[in-house]
Point group: C2
Chain length 339, copies 2
Amino acid sequence: MRVLVTGGMGYIGSHTCVQMIEAGMTPIIVDNLYNSKETVLERIQNLTGVTPAFYKGDIRDREFLDGVFAENDIDAVIHFAGLKAVGESVEKPLEYYDNNVSGTLVLVEAMRTAGVNAIIFSSSATVYGDPASVPITEDFPTSATNPYGRSKLMVEECLADIQHAYPEMSVTLLRYFNPVGSHKSGTMGEDPQGIPNNLMPFISQVAVGRREFLSVFGDDYPTVDGTGVRDYIHVVDLADGHLAALTHKGREAGLHIYNLGTGNGNSVLQMAKAFEKASGVEVPYKIAPRRAGDIAECWADPAKAKAELNWEAKLTLDDMTQDTWRWQSTNPDGYPDAE
Amino acid sequence: MRVLVTGGMGYIGSHTCVQMIEAGMTPIIVDNLYNSKETVLERIQNLTGVTPAFYKGDIRDREFLDGVFAENDIDAVIHFAGLKAVGESVEKPLEYYDNNVSGTLVLVEAMRTAGVNAIIFSSSATVYGDPASVPITEDFPTSATNPYGRSKLMVEECLADIQHAYPEMSVTLLRYFNPVGSHKSGTMGEDPQGIPNNLMPFISQVAVGRREFLSVFGDDYPTVDGTGVRDYIHVVDLADGHLAALTHKGREAGLHIYNLGTGNGNSVLQMAKAFEKASGVEVPYKIAPRRAGDIAECWADPAKAKAELNWEAKLTLDDMTQDTWRWQSTNPDGYPDAE
């Protein structure tokens, strides 16, 4: 199976490419390297013995995309490419809507022209807004509290309308909960540019000495210890979810929506403690005010993905923290510009 | 005042250009003529003695737009350009999202580059979804029931986030109710391609003999006579609303939202009767099933526009029907390709 992977050099994309190659699939990567490094390609090669086809370019460039589709006989698309930082999206909404929404529309137009019908889209649990209860099932109402979340929701809505108009299409929306962890080799992991927006890279950068302390945004939520609770899922499990989608519903005509989460919640302080245990390094923290738009707790009901994709998360909290530490401690500054 | 008018050759755009010229403003028209004819320009000239600058091109073409901004010292933008047929949007959602959403994002990017801060956007009462009550005020919750409506709502959301990020910008969202009528000269009016989606062009095409009968979609709504009730507003009043916006809040930094409606509702059968009176021609009709997504009744509370823009609709139902008939009876096939 030949799969176009947009954003394939990014955190989740790169792990998915490794696992696709190991499963005998052929990823063809498109990435503008806005938020990733070209050295990721060598890491994929070191792990798999295969160098995937890589096209440096932007999904908003229709001519570029048409060329990629023309040169490759693509069976399906996994669409990771997009901007993903909540705070930045408030400052730069035009870039977020242009990259995420317009970019997806250009991609789908190129797919239609090339006769490619299957797309698996990187959505997010953020489309549940502030959920009325947990665990969250796929039929919960959707909403958004910031431009990043709105861009994900808009893409979901566009893709649903497109699938309705072109019933031969297969549209799969994978709603990720909170991806963490790294490849067990320690050679691939999350490498955010600038100040990390997500908890685990922040914790691990504190542990490795790149940052002084962890800011915990709010300790007065109605949760186990007052800090926010999220459903952290190992990136290797998440990548597996994409393979499961490709194998099961992800090329079948229709609109398919799945939560990819573990079904378990952990608080910020629980994650920090677990990381200290895995790393043997203390993670000092300071309590800061709540951030606007943050919710108290959020975790998935992953039953639908289990029933229809035969997929469930298998890796533990220890795997998440140990693998993150292995990556961060051996690559304290993330990927190099060149190797 | 030099105002870039996207979609300036269309129904509402062309009337607005005439009134802008009469008020001493300078419209600079951008239109791809997808849904309009170049002869509109001559009609504007005949009415005003002025031929506005006209650039044939697509707002999704950034280079084209940059050229237009570079050649003209633009003070503000009125953004009419967009696809607008509900039924077609269900069949062709990709085109709707691409034209309406991506197109607006390209336009705003070009505005940012050119240093133009004021945009007045053609929104629609469709963003109120199925309102809980009437009359509708601007703070009602928003939703959408079809891709056209979703595209309008997405643009509103994008523009609101963009204005928040760039507080020097002036974003005005004008939510039109149901525009009808024509210029009183009878030389300009609504000229839908194919089967009209809106009531008045349909009625007038029946009256002029282009169509056999009017289909009334549903006669069992909880309204005065069972048929749907809408807030019909004369296009000349609507165009005036844009001039009022330009003069008052429409170039002041901030996010401004106004209903443009009359505050009165009329049913489908009331409109047909009024049209028969104006034209002296019988309009035969047949009752058809309700259309999915249609609501029972919808009319504006126009108080905010009156208070802040010093604008209110002045023309009557007789003006709407008489002017429509004058246009339709003297231009039974709409605008010619050339004059």
